[in-house]
């Protein structure tokens, strides 16, 4: 593997020190060990583990996934082993020297806060990412990240529950992403990750039914990348806390685009399924790109987009 030795790739993502800006997105990277045959995890800045709830959860009935143009829909429903099994069994299996960010999900604010408390003080957990893109049961199933007041309560409660760096992963299913970003910043979030999957529907005309058993699903993959770039850029205009850009990254060039739009780091998501070594290739590729372009420090690229004056 060719290494670009002259380039400083380190970034600080809201208090989480990363050796390079490439993470993998929650839900697309299991608990890390699944990728051992394909990728040395130490090549990455780190990874975000599958979202954790207080108790183990089983997922939705099949079909859970469907293909879409340059993308896929999923409705897994956050199947996971639960926070205790993660701490007791999954974390110890992750090689030393790998930065682990735990993703947190629950169906009410108190549940989120409790999962955050359990993960706080656990060695190896470098930070938390709050998955705010899930239906809030007590608010009638609306996503936490879709209502500024609900989002504010969630960020406040989780911020109080942990001393760890706290990222909030925002839903793209909103009109004003900048407003949601400001809510997170105002409530003390260390940073924000965006975007989560775009709410979507695929239909089988023969059966006149949705393809997914759940009906609706989340669209991910290269199809959503321009939407993600737009939202990262808008959020970066609105807040000064660091942003982790997510959405359809397939290459180092894609990751650079997110940095230019204002992301301090990025997460590779759906591409991990198709090409399980991709995140390492993106991490190496960013450094090579920077070297070729005479960029000494990766962090100098953050927000360097030359947007036409309006």
């Amino acid at each position: 593997m060719k290494r670009a030795r002259g380039v400083d790739t380190a970034v600080d993502l809201g208090g989480i020190s990363l050796r390079n800006p490439v993470l993998t997105a929650s839900g697309t990277f299991g608990y890390g060990t699944e990728f051992a045959p394909f990728l040395d995890l130490r090549r990455l800045g780190g990874f975000v583990a599958k979202s954790l709830t207080l108790e183990p959860r089983i997922g939705n009935p099949p079909p859970r996934i469907a293909e879409a143009p340059s993308g896929m829909l999923n409705a897994i429903s956050l199947e996971n082993v639960g926070v205790e099994v993660f701490i007791g069994e999954k974390l110890p299996a992750i090689p030393e020297g790998v930065t682990v960010i735990a993703s947190v999900f629950e169906t009410d604010v108190d549940g989120y806060a409790e999962v955050c408390k359990r993960l706080t003080g656990v060695p190896r957990v470098a930070g938390l990412e709050i998955n705010a893109s899930c239906p809030h049961v007590k608010s009638g199933g609306i996503e936490f990240g879709q209502d500024p007041a609900v989002l504010a309560r969630l960020v406040r409660a989780t911020r109080q529950a942990t001393t760890l760096p706290l990222l909030v992963k925002l839903s793209p299913n909103v009109t004003h992403i900048g407003e949601m970003a400001r809510v997170c910043e105002g409530e003390g979030a260390s940073g924000i990750s965006l975007i989560n999957a775009v709410q979507a529907l695929e239909v089988d005309p023969e059966t006149r039914r949705p393809v997914l058993a759940n009906g609706l699903g989340g669209l991910s993959g290269p199809a959503i990348r321009p939407i993600a770039l737009r939202m990262v850029w808008q959020a970066a205009q609105a807040v000064s806390i660091p942003i982790c850009g997510v959405g359809g990254i397939e290459s180092a060039a894609d990751a650079i685009k997110f940095l230019l739009c204002g992301a301090t780091a990025v997460q590779v998501g759906t591409s991990n399924y198709l090409r399980p070594s991709i995140a390492g290739e993106v991490a190496d590729g960013i450094a090579e790109w920077a070297e070729r372009h005479g960029v000494a420090r990766i962090r100098d690229l953050v927000g360097a987009l030359e947007f036409p004056a309006r």
């Binding site: 697309t28 990277f29 045959p37 997922g59 859970r64 993959g221 397939e250 399924y273 198709l274």
Partner: protein, 283 residues
Amino acid sequence: MAEAVWEVGGERVAPIRAEAEIVRNAGEGASNWRLVLRVPGWPGFAPGQFAMLAAGSVSAARRSDPLLPRPMAVYRAQAGRGWSDVEILYKRVGRGTALLAEALPGQRVAIVGPLGRAFPRPRAGERVTVVAGGTGIASVRELAARLAGSHPVELLFGARTAGELMAVEDFEALGIPLRIATEDGSAGERGVVTDLLESALDADAPAPGRRVYVCGPTAMMRRCAEIAAERGAPCVAALETTMACGFGVCLGCAAPLRRGGYALVCRDGPAFDAAVIDWERLP
């Protein structure tokens, strides 16, 4: 349930990801195709394991549509020096397989494999009935081939028409007794392959001492599971479903279990004890 793991490509070989070169890719009648890939570093495989083939990777320019790789049973593999020729039988059914069918020798396809849990071995002395429907035949050749020397093996093979049958000559070459059923009677017996299983088990009662392996359409596997269960014969089914990754992270390939919850076809299967699957809830 298993007597032992397979000697070659045991219970879990670490999978690889490789850019494989297409050696051969040709139609074999109807929409059946046979693909031979030269895969560097192929570690071997056990019967029932599969690989993910990225149909969208077959061209100089990388493309993202279709996005998902296709899970395909490994039909056979022949080892060379540092590589193996891995053979895949597939049916041209959708956009992914249509693209794959257009791929030419010399072009490259990304492959991840071998993946999944293999068929369990039969116990010593057990007689083996292998039941295949359509492209399900691709999942069972290696099983039949490796058992042929140690167990009495018979193959029951069903398709809609004679033209849709594939790889019959490969099984004849293995010397395995073969019974064919086609729905239109154009080859073998007129009818469906589940009728053959019923008569095979009934002609040779009691069924205990016999093990059934099946791969094919869900409805056919479900019926085989019922027929075997009614006669007390253990039945192993190799499930087929859409997958995004093939190695246990997308969680897209859930198969409902009778005890509740789900197994992943890619990680916990594709070969399952048919009695644990909740066939009612399997799409």
